[in-house]
Symmetry: D2
Subunit: 423 residues, 4 copies
């Protein structure tokens, strides 16, 4: 399909088929060239839970690790969520684990670019340093958001104007090769409110340990590990301040949307891959397809169209809003998050149906771990647990939005407040 | 929401919120001004099965009856399926029956414009005559496609170079006020193949009777009647020739898509109306919403987003393809029809779920015919029977497309061939 | 749960095919003989919203109106919920409205029998009088449970030891021919707690008006009317006392289950009727069924089996528990209600799916009010609003039961308390 | 259907809570005593794909391996499908893989008992020998039904009145400890029709190899292996003759139902286990459950009730029919298979929904292979591939039954004919 000429008020079909920028097209092409390589290792890495380090080395060479870094800082300059999601979709059709790990780097590129453009001077400097490293592929930055159940991660002053970080984070994807971690931590000052902070810690920091503990149901090659911090020193210049935990501000929902919405592309890619395997398998059969096969195939294709359209629409909405800082920032945050959560619910529901029906179409041969549909059945389920908002959180948020119910939408602060309260 | 600036390769959120042309915006505004009037009669017309003639008189005054007629011929010049669907959605939020009837006129405007632009000279002249009449609102043109079970509608030469039409058509919406009917009829010549034809017959033609026989489950004010033809004379210049029934040509799928896809907007409008009633009803309650209410409301909103996104995407795809006659026309037809059928399946499934859940949210008070949700529950079910392709036909078409199965996609010719064979 | 005493070690298939008692078999046979008569009027009564008085006269002649009255009092002595539901199923296959109205009489027979067997002397006398009248068919007793939104129905002392009743009840089925009403009313004494009472009022009572206001979405021939009470005198001997509204007692759930669970048979009958029409229609077609038709028919039959099995199991469980008053009566009430609510959720979900799929199988001809599937599509939706517990109430009850959450399970007292609080 | 002879007029709730025979109760108690032992190894065996040989040694000691062997032959004498399924359910709540393997032995006991009671003398002798061995636990008999894609398993005369068996079977559960295999094989005589046969081969037979090749998506400890036969000698007395493959006989559906229907209990057990984990997890949380959690828990419990009721009803129906050889055996076979297939469709659909919703209720902690819900998510999917009939086969069978379409219902002969035709 040719690039669409939008100049005449033409709305483009939003089903995640074509990039909307040249930068996005470039990224998709770079990734596409590596798909055979990614595909070659996917089954073994899934079986053994191995992270595809070689693939990431290839990505480094290609400049892909700086895809979302602005061109001014040496990156590829992909700035549309739509294009980032499409790139991840393309990769996920071959290996969702690799896409999930790469998403981490892409996501940090997008959010650090916002710091670089709109942050305070110290944040700008920190962001620029990281982004320049990402552009060359020397720097790989993980987000470490979710506390392990055993500990609240906290930042405390070291008495010399710098900080010490202690705690444990879980579900940190891409951790095996990360060079830096953006960690969500609380600072409990003596008298003031509890403050949320985001220290950036080097992997080399004393007291930091990356555990090798991932045995996922799926996404087994994504390197989704725990990271332990035991009085890690963090220089003051490397700490981003996020404000008091009791100051709910829906403006923050924008950044949370940017940080995670492109993951929807991964689940679209899984569903697409499942569909293609099912249809190809039917094509090899000599007998005419049974009635149920025809019905399932039609439903699979209709649902896949809906899944892609819904995802594409939410991404396009997020891109439009993301680019516009002129209005009410809280409402902008809520609108971005609503579109994201609508799409997330639909992607999860339809994605699982599609993959499940594909197993039915192909039959019993899928019920061994070496069959690609077995992997997809396990991988697709990760979508339900994506940041931010579980299904219950999403229901609370969306129903509160629809019904005008007071609700703390900032899940990070809400979680922090909960953990603080339970002490 | 401001009009989106598309100049920078920006993909627009395809969820049917904003028109994409000025002409579309104009149409939406004209309709919006009439919504209170339409709303005022909706309940009574539903109860009594009355056609809203006054509303259509108002539409005539507004120029709305010529909305899809080119400006050169005096119309409003709305030529995007997306915008037509959005206009119908807006109207259907208030009364789906009225939207369904108006769709008939809009649809004829779109397909006759194609005849005027691309047809043979005789077809161009016929189309121009009708379109000019539609622009002023003097001409209201129904499509009469589906044969009554009792008869195959046939055209026979009258011996003087003109024709005679006999048969019976059913499910002809807007019939109470139609001035002309485009009728699908077979011509069984002595030796050649059976030919499909489309005679255009004036309501005043001798032998034409419009029955007053509509008692629908829903869409009760849409004037969906039977029309009987008993040797109606039709001048040669008023007959469009469609070719032999055994010459399947997927290019024709494009016209069939254009003719019917905008109806999806009607069902989106029904779903939106149901949602708004449910949410408004919750808003009037003093007690905090029950757990199930919150869950249902979140699901309703997510599904509505998906329904609108999927519909919008299919319409945008159809618009892009409709505008491009440069490639393989058969493949263009199939692609347009695939997008349409994907969306139709999803709209039907999600639309019914949404309306049904809205009844659950509001409760037992909806179970009387005077409650608007009762009407919506009956109206939404019409979508499953929309032209072309029932659900089983859609499954056959889409599975044949996916699996590379030979299949006669032109349902009009396939039906005609069936009825011919059964004689 | 104790081991079931089943001397032949045979569990019977619980899918509501065969009565389990001779009395049940007798009732099913009496009803079966009247089915042609019931069927003959069903379409017209649905269209016009007419109550089938003639049919009920025939039932009177047959003794059917005393079906659930003990033999000692002149009735047919059907005492199993399973058999009552099966009888209603049989009738509902032909006309659900008639079944719903007849359910009212059956339900009163069952609950009054309990009063006669276990009530206080005054209640026993009152119950006996009513039951003897029901046995001959001279007495037809409605339950009037749900307050109209405009008024709380209240009982006040008349100063002479008797009572006055004022208020308005809604959704009182069988009202057109009722001779007596069991009304749920509050008595707000000066200082004590608000008391729930159930005065039994004759249709002839001064101040009682039966409105003719039913225009239902479905169940249109069920005579589901409002009844207004304007200072109706009620003799003290005709008032059943239910206790204070703030004394929640889950033992009462048993009676509420008995009163309503047999309605599940009606919805099973609707689903069965829809299935039979769909399959019969397919049988008349000459062409081989399309792939989607085969898939839908298989799913319809599987779901119908599940619907009947689930309903039958819940009824069998309720019968077992109903017959055993030896244990913890509160737990007995909760167990009966749990089984009922599980089955109700499933019946509603599967019933709607089945009927909807039957419309799809048969096609567009169903979309007129004269097609029987049109009626079934409207009738089936009533199930979601059946007493007691709407879907949200059911979710609250069942999740509270599963998760050990404190919850007021007695919806009648809970509602009364709500309305009291909102004054 | 004849009136059920039920002397106490009591239908029992068919939701698989209580055994219906003393023998069934005995079996459930024996298994219950071993549950801690089974549970202890389940996670490790799942991770490593190890067969629980120790557990089966314990079962041998308990007499459980002869549970379905008649008492006259030394077994426990459990002869009701209902009770066998309930026993498997109990075991599957703790480890579904173990239940699946044990099902193989139970199933052979049931079908060999039929041979012993109703077979030809040679078959009776063979069955008795095997059953006596099963009663002591010395004999463990696998069914080897499904051909590996690479070969049709065939029996050929050895020239001395005995036979030679060659081919490869796949998906043979319990194979690691089997002592004998009942193999489905074709005998292609020179001129007559192809005959279906069932040679019984000892594990020690020359030319027999059990491969160690199971790496299932789930059911990983079930020892579901391939078995290769390379000119294995089989004595004439050890071959059961099944007739020509082109002689379709629906009477055979009875045996196929008996052989597999009890597996439904396994999937009911998986669903029950998932539900119990989800509810227990909620019980440990201090915060009130979110709205979506309450809704999901209520739906889970309602669906579980439906799953168990539907399964129990199908089993009770199969038991009734199984015990009655007096009527039309072909119709008996079809009725048993219909009930089985109805229940199988529902169990698969509801089982997956329940398990999936349980993961949602518990949250992201389930997404590691060490969490029991991760195992259940993988195990539940096996149900869709259970013998006989995949989902497409089930749709073909059930729709043919409903619509009166000619159809070869005997999947074993149909498959054999297919493979013969494709040579």
């Amino acid at each position: 399909m040719p690039m669409m000429n939008n100049s005449e008020h033409q709305i483009s079909p939003a089903y995640l088929r074509e990039p909307v920028t040249e930068e996005g097209r470039n990224l998709v092409e770079l990734l596409s060239a590596r798909l055979p390589e990614v595909a070659a290792g996917a089954a073994d890495n899934d079986r053994d839970g191995l992270f595809p380090t070689d693939v990431f080395n290839a990505f480094r060479k290609d400049g892909v690790l700086g895809a979302t870094v602005p061109k001014e800082l040496g990156g590829l300059g992909v700035d549309r969520l739509y294009d980032v999601a499409l790139a991840l979709l393309t990769l996920a059709e071959v290996d969702a684990s690799t896409a999930l790990a790469l998403h981490v780097q892409f996501s940090r590129g997008l959010t650090l670019t916002y710091e670089w453009q709109h942050g305070a001077p110290q944040a700008q400097a920190l962001a620029e340093r990281l982004l320049r490293g990402m552009a060359t592929g020397e720097t790989l930055v993980c987000g470490a958001v979710k506390d392990h159940w055993s500990a609240v991660t906290t930042l405390t002053p070291d008495g010399n104007g710098d900080w010490l970080l202690s705690g444990r984070k879980t579900l940190v994807s891409m951790a095996p090769i990360a060079t830096d971690f953006v960690v969500y931590a609380q600072w409990r000052s003596e008298d003031g409110p509890i403050m949320l902070t985001a220290p950036v810690v080097s992997r080399e920091a004393p007291g930091l340990t990356v555990l090798d503990n991932w045995d996922g149901l799926g996404m087994r090659a994504s390197g989704t590990l725990d990271v332990v911090f035991d009085n890690c020193p963090v220089a003051a210049e490397n700490v981003l301040m996020r404000g008091p935990i009791d100051a709910a501000d829906d403006a923050a929902l924008a950044g949370q949307t940017v940080s995670s919405i492109t993951m929807l592309g991964i689940y679209a890619g899984i569903a697409q891959a499942a569909r293609d395997i099912a249809v190809a398998t039917c094509g090899k059969r000599s007998a005419a397809p049974a009635a149920a096969i025809r019905t399932l195939v039609a439903e699979i294709d209709a649902r896949l169209f809906a899944l892609r359209s819904t995802t594409g629409t939410a991404l396009a909405e997020a891109d439009l809003l993301s680019a516009d800082l002129s209005g009410d920032l809280a409402e902008r945050g809520r609108r971005m998050m609503r579109a994201f959560q609508y799409a997330k619910m639909i992607v999860n529901e339809l994605g699982l149906k599609i993959v499940n029906d594909c197993l039915t179409v192909v039959g019993g041969s899928t019920y061994v771990n070496t069959h690609p549909l077995s992997r997809l059945y396990r991988d697709i389920r990760a979508g339900w647990f994506m940041q931010p908002y579980t299904y219950p959180d999403g229901v609370d948020f969306l129903s509160a939005q629809a019904l005008g119910i007071a609700h703390d939408n900032d899940y990070m602060k809400a979680r922090a407040a909960q953990s603080a309260a339970s002490r």
